[in-house]
Amino acid sequence: DAGITQSPRYKITETGRQVTLMCHQTWSHSYMFWYRQDLGHGLRLIYYSAAADITDKGEVPDGYVVSRSKTENFPLTLESATRSQTSVYFCASSIQGNEQFFGPGTRLTVL
């Protein structure tokens, strides 16, 4: 039972480069989420998805793009990375009306 996985776990990139963070869940949960965690801010929602091909913005969507062609995958792309996007990124999934289950996180550093 793999649950929810994220890759890579650590990533260093440079300003202006495109970066894609992967999220995969094996539970067939309909909902998936992307958060960023920064000191003093807790976790903030970037994007979420209610089902395949249905996505919507969260609190801090600027500079990010998501897609969900398959229920189990929810990649997050930084089209042109900036230093302010240095953060720890968490993916989560849930069944409607239930708690969210979180992945182990990806630590992204933008130089």
Binding site: F33, Q96, F101, F102
Partner: protein
């Protein structure tokens, strides 16, 4: 819109002493309430949740929380803490019928031997 306030960013507690981590929320609609724990270099794990019914909710690892609607609070308590409870604790809310969670800024619990 919802908001969550965790007033204490850090709480040091001696081992085997009781602890209370405070959480207050603001919402114009009814909400579900959650406490998550994050151990170092790990993702978040659900401690407990309040959806409806009894206002006293028991969770894993001996934690409990009480929902107080009049005070819009959902404080987390444990009668006797252990070294293994050292972690960051997050309170979160979601409006009924909406899957989006709003998190507080977290409370770092440090257990002193």
């Amino acid at each position: 819109a919802q908001s969550v306030t965790q007033l204490d960013s850090q709480v040091p507690v001696f081992e085997e002493a009781p602890v209370e981590l405070r959480c207050n929320y603001s919402s114009s609609v009814s909400v579900y309430l959650f406490w998550y724990v994050q151990y170092p270099n790990q993702g978040l794990q659900l401690l407990l949740k309040y959806l409806s019914g009894s206002t006293l909710v028991k969770g894993i690892n001996g934690f409990e929380a009480e929902f107080n609607k009049s005070q819009t609070s959902f404080h987390l308590r444990k009668p006797s803490v252990h070294i293994s409870d050292t972690a960051e604790y997050f309170c979160a809310v979601s409006p009924l019928g909406n899957e989006k969670l709003t998190f507080g800024t977290g409370t770092r619990l440090t257990i002193i031997p």
